[in-house]
């Protein structure tokens, strides 16, 4: 009490219990926060798989650009081989369209225009259309993984049959 000379690191009973209580409370709060965050992130999604089966390569003649509206990808068969672009405009997410007479991909929403290689010609889109990973499965079908981007025009970004 008043008589004792308090050392700087000495705590009395009240302070001890205060620290104990507040400490436990913060641990509990941290745990609750962690578990709440885990709860909020769904472990299972009821959404279609990002991997799309585009069928046999013969469906796509040379120098063709084919839009699949359901999966929002372009399958393009160029001289170097098959590759896939995302059809979702990089500006605000509208579905782009292939204009063969102009030889470009155009977005109807704000007028962004892209070359068949995905490179942006004009418009408010900030980035070119991304290239998506494409490969052949064991049945000889073309598969595209919409969740994986690959470098544009790189050797491994094409499928050669």
């Amino acid at each position: 009490m008043a008589d004792e000379i308090k050392q700087p690191d000495e705590v009395n009973r009240r302070q001890f219990f205060m620290k104990l209580g507040l400490g436990s409370l913060s641990i509990a709060a941290a745990g609750t926060a962690a578990f709440s965050y885990q709860f909020l992130e769904p472990n299972v999604l009821y959404e279609p798989s990002p991997v799309v089966n585009a069928g046999k390569p013969d469906r796509y003649p040379v120098d063709s650009v084919t839009l699949d509206v359901n999966s929002a990808i372009y399958i393009i068969h160029s001289q170097e081989g098959y590759f896939s672009l995302s059809a979702v405009c990089t500006h605000l997410g509208c579905l782009t369209a292939w204009k063969p007479e102009l030889n470009m991909i155009a977005c109807p929403c704000h007028g962004s225009k892209f070359e068949p290689s995905g490179k942006k010609i004009e418009g408010p889109a900030p980035r070119p259309l991304p290239w998506k990973r494409i490969w052949l499965n064991d049945d000889g079908d073309l598969l595209v993984d919409r969740s994986t981007d690959v470098p544009p025009l790189a050797r491994d970004s094409f499928v050669r049959v």
Binding site: K6, Q7, P8, D9, E10, F35, S36, Q38, F39, L40, E41, P42, N43, V44
Partner: protein, 282 residues
């Protein structure tokens, strides 16, 4: 408080924080252990100012009430706190509801725990509400001027039972479906209006998608809001009736000596008449 040279302790940092303008603009009355500060902590708080700043010592007695009313409110809060997260993963459509319940148990992180806690808190709440009612009755705490608060209590009992009943259907399992089928068929036993009540309750002639949706809206929105409404009135009337009922046969002191509570002695020393404090307790 230990002061060692220029280094500050956590306490001191915290106290400095409390002195800042930003802090004081949010927590206006400030912290402290004086009678005034403690009274302000109640009176200035939007959630707590339903309490009076002082209560009679007798009201603290555990043996008087077993704190059943407080515990019932506690279960209600637990149910709201667990119910809302459960709503995030639940679609009130048949048979998706059953799949969602299974999901909550097996897939969702902490889903099983939340569902369990919700279920057992619900059973606890029904039990506690009955216990609270019987305890209030046997104490005679329903007597004048508290009659209508007793009636509000009975209404709250009915709301609790309805909440439990509507929630029972939501998992859409065999237990739920048939319990509600039987229960709603009892409703059609009401003379004259029975069938109409049955039809309106279910939104149809059988327990199907409409019934599930109606019970969901009742359970998650209508009944909780009604409950909160009546709970507020229930608490307000306790306050207006002078706080918890304290029969003269119940102990006037909770601890060995009422003067163990420092503020009450201060009160007695300061003012000669404790009656000023009594009025403040209204």
């Amino acid at each position: 408080m230990a002061k060692s040279g220029t280094t500050k302790t956590m306490d001191q940092y915290f106290n400095d924080l409390r002195g800042t303008r930003v802090w004081r603009s949010i927590f206006r009355s400030g912290a402290g252990s004086s009678t005034l500060k403690r009274a302000l902590a109640i009176q200035q708080n939007v959630f707590l100012h339903l309490f009076s700043t002082k209560v009679r010592v007798r009201m603290l007695s555990f043996s008087a009430t077993w704190y059943l009313g407080t515990l019932t409110l506690g279960t209600f809060l637990l149910l709201v706190a667990t119910g809302i997260p459960l709503m995030l993963y639940y679609h009130p459509s048949a048979p998706q509801a059953y799949a969602d319940t299974k999901d909550l148990q097996f897939v969702v992180s902490s889903g099983l725990f939340l569902r369990n806690l919700h279920r057992w808190s619900a059973h606890a709440m029904v039990f506690l509400v009955f216990a609270h009612m019987f305890k209030v009755f046997y104490r005679g705490a329903y007597r004048t001027p508290r009659e209508f608060n007793w009636v509000i209590g009975v209404i709250l009992l009915l709301i609790t039972l309805l909440l439990s009943y509507t929630g029972y259907l939501l998992p859409w399992d065999q237990l739920a479906y048939w319990a509600i089928t039987v229960g709603s068929n009892i409703a059609s036993a009401v003379p004259l209006f029975g069938d109409k009540i049955h039809f309106l309750l279910l939104g149809g002639n059988a327990v199907n998608a409409n019934a599930l949706l109606r019970f969901y809206v009742l359970h998650c929105m209508i009944l909780p809001l009604t409950a909160m409404f009546f709970i507020a009135i229930h608490f307000w009337r306790i306050r207006k009736d002078g706080g918890l009922y304290a029969h003269s046969s119940e102990p006037a002191v909770v601890r060995a000596n009422a003067s163990d509570f420092p503020t009450s002695r201060k009160e007695r020393e300061k003012s000669g008449t404790p009656s000023s404090g009594a009025k403040e307790g209204q």
